[in-house]
């Protein structure tokens, strides 16, 4: 944990060194990710594009320390994540990563407010401070009036905004999003896309997104094309850092 605290205020880069992931054995053996080497800089937004089954979600899981590579190593600010036990990985996930999911993945028995408060509480902040912070995050998301609603009482867009606030609650340097617009209509999807782009640009976080959504291409710095577990192509995204569009704010929504 010492390394965690000492590295918190520095630029964080993530480095994937020839990582591979294999599932099953024998005839059922599937090589989902094959020998990928990548580096992400702080403040950079990246889109991983690829067809279903291409290995992009597996890659995202490994980047976030949710899955261990079968071979290769992952470094976060010099610390090798891939060698850490599950017990040691959880504080890294809490402090360094914010996760956004296609299915939102809010806890069904907690309100919007509590879903955000929980992760702040997990990070060790005192109850009063955690509540204050959760409240202000909901204000930023424009959801103060929905604070005490359960996920089942929220719309898709509202759920995703709560999920984004939860992902940002502990101020992580890296945000990972899996199909963040997948379950949203076009209008809400556009808003969420802008929000995620803004998180990278305005808040100097690394944002890695996995998506089929072509709209996201326009708001990221880099696009990685994945096919059969390999990065087949890399190109610059359409994100214009000088554009006012990128500097959105939740309150404007």
């Amino acid at each position: 944990m010492e390394e965690l605290s000492s590295s918190h205020n520095h630029d964080t880069s993530l480095f994937l060194d020839r990582i591979s992931k294999t599932y099953g054995e024998g005839e059922t053996r599937v090589e989902a990710v094959k020998n990928i080497t990548l580096e992400f800089q702080r403040g950079e937004s990246i889109l991983i594009l690829g067809p279903s089954g291409s290995g992009k979600t597996t890659l995202l899981s490994m980047i976030g320390g949710l899955l261990k590579p079968t071979s290769g190593r992952i470094f976060l600010h010099g610390q090798e994540l891939s060698s850490l036990s599950e017990g040691k990985l959880s504080p890294y996930r809490l402090k360094y990563f914010g996760f956004i999911f296609q299915e939102f993945n809010l806890l069904s028995t907690l309100t919007a407010f509590e879903n955000i408060e929980l992760v702040i509480h997990l990070a060790g902040l005192k109850k009063d401070l955690a509540r204050q912070k959760a409240k202000s995050l909901l204000e930023v998301a424009g959801l103060s009036n929905r604070a005490h609603h359960y996920p089942s009482q929220l719309s898709g867009g509202e759920k995703q905004r709560v999920a984004i606030m939860r992902a940002l609650a502990n101020n992580p340097p890296i945000v990972l999003a899996d199909e963040p617009t997948g379950n949203l209509d076009t209008e809400i999807g556009n808003v969420i896309t802008q929000i995620l782009s803004g998180i990278a640009c305005r808040e100097n976080r690394t944002v890695v997104m996995v998506s089929h959504d072509e709209r996201i291409k326009k708001v990221v710095d880099r696009i990685l094309y994945v096919q059969d577990g390999r990065i087949t192509r890399e190109e610059k995204g359409g994100h214009d850092r000088e554009s006012k569009e990128s500097h959105n704010h939740f309150l404007t929504y």
């Binding site: 959880s90 069904s108 907690l110």
Partner: protein
Amino acid sequence: MISIAWRNLFHDKLRFAISISGVAFSVFLILVLLGLFRGWHEKIVGYIASTHADLWILQEGGDDFFNSISVLPVAYKDTIKENPNVKEVYPLIGRQTSFEIDKGAVRLYIIGYDPHDGVGGPFKIIRGVPTPGKGEIIIDKVFANTKEINIGDTLRILEKDLRVVGIAEGGDLVFLQFAFMERKEAEELLRMPEMVNFYIVTLNNSSSSSSVISDLEDKLENISVVTQAEYITSNQREINEIFIPILTVLVIIGFLVGLTVVGLMTYTSTIEKSKEYGILKAIGASNAYLYKIIIQQSFLTGLVGFFVGVGLTIITKLLLENIVPQFVIEMLAKDVGLSLSLILIMSIAAAYVPMRRIARIEPAAVFK
């Protein structure tokens, strides 16, 4: 802290109610069984304890008040009294007797005592006279109620008519009740002239009991002299030997029923919420945090079930006291403490399998 455990429990109220019922049944079973045992355990020696004797003199081998045969000559009283440390000697007759009421067989434990001594008589008179005279008998309330006998009625016991002159309470042993009469009357009734079954002895100084015991056992043949405490213990020993193994098995069954219900409910709830546990892992919750949720769930179920079980037992105890007074449930703090300990152990055990299951949940499952 946000109580995810509490929310999880209340999320499915039916499951929570079933879990609580299982624990409550388990607690109820354990407390009622222990309570009945304690009640009987105390009752069985209640009469002996009420005599406030220092020593009991019995025929050798007759250390069971209810089931062994002890017959001693009345003449022994003078020899016992000769010991300078003996303060008083009270001869006592005590024997089970069967007879018929309305052609149905009934049993009483007849106590023959000397009413003018006041030792060995009824615990508490609730109606009628405090001491029986010639041709009279005092019966227990439970016997009077179940057989619908009132003061002034006549009981025909062993071809002798005895008029009921008093109703006492505290002399019920579930399977039979005490009845009290004059010793001489009992001698005649039970056909044991100039004989008694026991001697109750009080001492000038209770610390001299061992010297009195050895002196009396030297002087009188074929007797056994025991202290009040020893006599109580020997009478309880048989109950313990018979009932404790049965009780232990039943308590274990109660425990296992509760464990199974809480365990299954906690497990199914864990399986149902395994994706949410995966989410918690993904967002940085440690396994220890997740274990805490499971244990809290299990403990909350256990504790709520425990209090419901204790409440049920108290209600049952009060109902039984009014409806079936011969069944006395003695709720001791130590038994409540024991059942609470068992519930806590049960809660930990019930959480074990779900915790192992949670440990195996892959946080990457959140993407599925």
